[in-house]
């Protein structure tokens, strides 16, 4: 019985994948329409899955609060604001000013402050890299970052003379030649990796939907 379930899920996943893929390569209106229909279904299912994900988020924090685990007051605050925001959104609609204010004055500043924290994290990581990871590649990474940062400084951009001009030239040379070439090489590798990952799912070798 279990093997039939496995064959059924794999068949549905593989045939759906092949139909969507064919829609990109075969210029046939019927296949094209089927591809669009399946993609619409996928979008709707992803939206439903978001609700299930939020239910999962709720259950994790509910467990933390009910078991009084370490840090449970934070979970309680999260659950409180979860209910408040959801209730306001459901009663007044997503376009109401209260929801917009919650987003603009709570979520946006918090996310912006995390972005600022990212800058601090990068500086600390750069320092740690220079002091702890003493291999050639790491030294080149830190050295290049310092040259490019100096190359963007007002001293170089607005300055005249041999040193500022050389620094400006170095910055352009590093970012437009070495960095661009390296990024393209990495992009080719990522694209090839993405293709093989997709093909393994299409061939039912990888089955993220379970067995």
């Amino acid at each position: 019985m279990k093997i039939w379930g496995y064959i059924l899920w794999a068949t549905v996943a593989v045939s759906t994948g092949i139909l969507v893929l064919l829609g990109y390569f075969v210029d046939n209106p019927a296949i094209h329409n089927v591809r669009l229909l399946i993609l619409q279904w996928a979008t709707i299912l992803a939206a439903v899955a978001l609700f299930l994900g939020l239910a999962n988020l709720w259950s994790v924090h509910w467990k933390k609060v009910s078991d009084q685990e370490k840090g449970w007051p934070y979970s309680a605050v999260l659950m409180l604001f979860f209910i408040v925001t959801l209730a306001i959104g459901l009663v007044f609609g997503p376009d109401c000013p209260i929801v917009a204010n919650l987003f603009n004055y709570i979520q946006l500043p918090v996310e912006a402050s995390l972005m600022a924290l990212l800058m601090v994290a990068l500086v600390v990581a750069g320092f740690r890299m220079a002091t702890q990871r003493r291999d050639v590649v790491s030294m080149m990474f830190v050295g290049t970052a310092i040259i490019v940062l100096l190359g963007y400084s007002p001293w170089v951009i607005g300055g005249n003379g041999f040193v500022p001009e050389t620094m400006g030239y170095l910055r352009v040379w590093l970012t437009q030649v070495w960095s661009a070439a390296g990024a393209r090489g990495i992009l080719i590798g990522v694209a090839l990796g993405s293709i093989t990952t997709g093909l393994r799912i299409l061939l039912a070798v990888d089955r993220p939907y379970g067995d």
Partner: protein
């Protein structure tokens, strides 16, 4: 019919053909994978975590199932299967976090299957796979709590990350964890190189399955990638040479 779809279809057929060919011929022509320090160290780090009664945390990032950013997270699911198998009988089994509802469900299915295959389905709990937050920064804002309060020793980032990936790695480093970081985005890879103790570069983020012995097709797909990469490089060099000689201008 224009040339591009035919070329695309031909490339896909070439890929599938090479993957099947290398899977069939794997015993006749065995292949040695090049060393990726991160994956080599990961196996040891997982063993140590299991022995020490610590947990492995896998982050699949904030990418969604639909969209171009899903591939890295799907590669992360292959890693999850192997990590789950390695830690299933531990006191502290692996946990996985995502920033997308659908990806959470896929992670739950992957974990459930691993537990069923190990015949310990009763030990599986749905909260082992968690959605931390629906936006990239809300996802990463919840991560310190997960790392600090779950006895995590190994922190794997294998998925789709933007700049928030650097924070996710930095949180792990500040806790003194083993951090393996890989993303599909070039800029994220650059900042993960600086912040993660064991960064993955380029297509290495997709190679986890092959290095963790997820199956012969994973190794075969790496070989197929290498062959196609050589072809792409050859085409680029030939094109550059022809342009330099003035052909096609």
């Amino acid at each position: 019919m224009s040339k591009e779809p035919i070329l695309g279809l031909a490339a896909l057929i070439l890929f599938i053909g090479l993957m099947i060919l290398f899977t069939i011929t794997r015993k006749r022509w065995p292949v040695a994978l090049r060393s990726i320090k991160g994956f080599e160290a990961l196996g040891i780090a997982i063993e140590r975590a299991v022995e020490a009664g610590k947990r492995v945390h896998l982050s699949l990032g904030s990418g969604s199932v639909i969209g171009s950013d899903s591939a890295a997270a799907f590669a992360g699911l292959s890693v999850l299967r192997r990590v789950a198998s390695a830690t299933i009988l531990s006191d502290k089994p692996a946990i996985v976090t995502t920033g997308d509802g659908a990806m959470t469900m896929l992670a739950q299915d992957t974990l459930r299957t691993s537990y069923q295959q190990a015949r310990v389905a009763d030990r599986y709990r749905p909260v082992m796979a968690r959605m931390l937050g629906p936006t990239p920064f809300s996802y990463v804002a919840n991560m310190p709590d997960v790392l600090a309060n779950n006895d995590v020793a190994v922190h794997i980032l294998n998925g789709s990350f933007g700049s928030e990936g650097a924070l996710a790695a930095a949180f792990g480093e500040s806790e003194g964890l083993f951090v393996l970081g890989g993303a599909d985005d070039v800029r994220s890879q650059a900042i993960l190189y600086a912040t993660a103790g064991h960064p993955l570069i380029g297509e290495e983020v997709f190679a986890g399955g092959a290095y963790l012995n997820a199956g012969p097709m994973h190794r075969a797909s790496l070989q197929a990638q290498d062959i196609v990469r050589i072809l792409v490089v050859a085409f680029i060099l030939i094109g550059t040479l022809l342009r330099t000689l003035g052909v096609g201008q």
